[in-house]
């Protein structure tokens, strides 16, 4: 597996970005943290846009240390920026050809135009494109450089919700088909939950955690520091079909979850994100509730979370589920490890896998 080896220190206006770590790269790895945590700066150091940060190595190739500095255009990394940064003096096809020529693969341009659905746009001036269209061109352009690593700096943050949904599948395809590792900067938990296999969390210029996304997002210690969003659980499930009354049924080892959103045909793999505060607990199976999803579970541990709250980790048929309740409720219900109970899911967010 490729790794990126960092030993860097960069003084920013109000704090110092200090990282000394080897990061394994596979699939899409999210650089996650609140705004101003140093995520973008880290990405710029890796891209080679910031000089003199320290030591940066990609595999066994040193990109930067005290003596050497490999300039950005020789690193064979593609960067997808927050604003698409298309060349506005060239049309869409011209932008793609520009990148392809320098990677010696002009013949790949037509296929890439098809792959990203750009044929109707290929002769357009870039300043007439919508935000989503422009970002699609930027992704295609990045891929045409035959990169060894793709850096994405919040590529969806300038887009509205509908445009984001339009771009997601392309990033997912890039992640799954292109076999190029991607480092993806984001401060949006739902984006990370949907896209990233692994994540690296950053706060105040330091790495605070690294691991599989499912572990990190569920970690009650890490999650509160990750930009104001609450901890929760990721559940891998499979679409089993549509019920007669129009709900989408999703199977996972702990049972079946029903949602009103349709997420593809039977057999499609999806990931659900359930926020801890959206999980209610009951010792008895509740009756007369409007909630659709009530899952049997067993308490595996209880940890304090804040002055009056507790995080209850549940085992739901082998899948971890996390509930945030008050300590008073935990005591009243007599919850302790090994106690069986029912988890009531108030809502689930969906992330296609």
């Amino acid at each position: 597996m490729t790794t990126i080896d960092l030993d860097i220190a960069v003084q920013l206006s109000d704090f110092k970005l200090e990282i000394d770590r080897r990061i394994p790269l596979s699939g899409l790895t999210a650089l996650f943290g609140p705004s101003g945590a140093g995520k973008s700066t880290l990405l710029r150091v890796i891209a080679g846009f910031e000089h003199g940060a320290g030591r940066v190595a990609f595999g066994d190739e040193v990109w930067e240390d005290g003596r050497r500095f490999v300039p950005p255009h020789r690193r064979r990394i593609a960067t997808v920026f927050q604003d698409p940064r298309l060349f506005r003096h060239l049309d869409v096809r011209g932008n793609l050809a520009y990148a392809a020529r320098r990677a010696g693969q002009v013949q790949a341009v037509p296929a890439m135009i098809d792959r990203f659905g750009l044929s109707p746009l290929s002769g357009r001036r870039t300043d007439t494109l919508s935000g989503g269209e422009a970002q699609r061109v930027a992704l295609a352009r990045a891929l045409l450089t035959a990169p060894r690593l793709i850096l994405m700096d919040e590529p969806l943050s300038a887009l509205d919700h509908a445009r984001r949904l339009e771009i997601f599948p392309y990033i997912e395809e890039l992640r799954d088909e292109a076999k190029v590792p991607i480092l993806y900067v984001s401060h949006v938990q739902s984006e990370v939950a949907r896209l990233a296999g692994h994540m690296l969390t950053l706060a105040g210029g330091r790495i605070t955690g690294f691991g599989p996304t499912t572990d990190i997002l569920g970690d009650p210690v890490l999650a509160p520091g990750l930009g104001g969003e609450e901890p929760g659980s990721l559940i891998a499930a499979t679409v089993s079909g549509i019920t007669e009354d129009g709900l989408c049924a999703l199977d996972f080892p702990g049972g079946t979850i029903l949602t009103t959103q349709r997420l593809g045909a039977a057999g499609a793999r999806v990931r659900l994100f359930v926020r801890a505060r959206d999980v209610l607990l009951s010792r008895e199976r509740p009756e007369g509730l409007s909630a659709l999803n009530i899952l049997p579970a067993v308490v595996s541990s209880i940890t304090d979370a804040g002055p009056a709250s507790a995080d209850v980790a549940l085992d739901c048929g082998g899948t971890g589920l996390r509930a945030r309740i008050t300590r008073r409720s935990a005591a009243a219900l007599g919850l302790e490890p090994g106690v069986p109970c029912h988890a009531i899911l108030k809502s689930v967010a969906l992330a296609r896998d």
Binding site: A47, T79, T145
Partner: protein, 226 residues
């Protein structure tokens, strides 16, 4: 009125065109450096570049005259290279005008490069373009309006040069007798007809050039080109 009366016009156009072409090439690296550098000597370099804007042409001409002397390094170098002197020659006028018109090339280019920012260059680097490649294929085309402005201003400014020419070039027909000098002489010798003709030509030409400049800039603004 003969064709010979128009000779100063052709000489002037030749001078302005030569100087404009040379300055666009020579001014580019200087403007680029000024737009990007954080060096502490940059303000000093900027001030020197802008000096011809405020200095009386006679002062600039005086120093150039000294530098052009074959015993001075520049004049001596030129002498050893070509066998001629820079003073009272067309080549001398070109060299003098390079200094005289420098700010009119460098300032619009510097402004264009500054407004370009780092973003397009980083984008170019991220798709594999080296610095020179990125300059020629991204920065320069995106700064086209800056180049047009620089070219027009430099050309127009060189057309109207008088004081410096008088100091280093004199009044040699076909060599250094540019239109402004010719007009001055016609007036001195009370040949108002030729003075009228040449002045009118210069007025019309200058107006046409500035009209072109403002049209280009106005259209550029409307089309959103930097």
């Amino acid at each position: 009125m003969t064709l010979a009366d128009l000779a100063p016009l052709w000489l002037t156009l030749k001078l302005a065109a030569t100087v404009t072409a040379l300055l666009l090439v020579l001014g580019t690296p200087l403007a680029w450096w000024l737009a990007r550098t954080r060096s502490r000597i940059a303000p000093a370099v900027e001030a020197v570049t802008a000096l011809p804007l405020v200095l009386p042409p006679t002062v600039l001409g005086f120093y150039l005259l000294l530098a052009f002397n074959p015993t001075a390094p520049l004049g001596g170098f030129w002498m050893s290279l070509t066998g001629g002197t820079l003073t009272f020659s067309f080549a001398g006028l070109v060299v003098a005008s390079l200094f005289y018109s420098l700010p009119f090339t460098v300032q619009p280019l510097q402004a264009a490069f500054t407004s370009l920012g780092r973003a397009p260059l980083e984008a170019a680097a991220s798709v594999g373009a080296g610095p020179l490649d990125a300059f020629l294929t991204v920065a320069a085309p995106l700064s086209m309006r800056g180049y047009l402005t620089a070219a027009i201003l430099t050309f127009a400014h060189t057309l109207g040069e008088f004081g410096v020419v008088l100091m280093v070039g004199g009044n040699i027909p076909g060599e250094t007798r540019v239109i402004s000098i010719a007009i001055y002489e016609e007036v001195e010798t009370l040949d108002y007809t030729t003075a009228h003709l040449l002045s009118g030509l210069l007025l019309g030409l200058s107006f046409a050039i500035l009209l072109a400049l403002y049209t280009v800039n106005g259209r550029g603004r409307m089309r959103g080109l930097g």
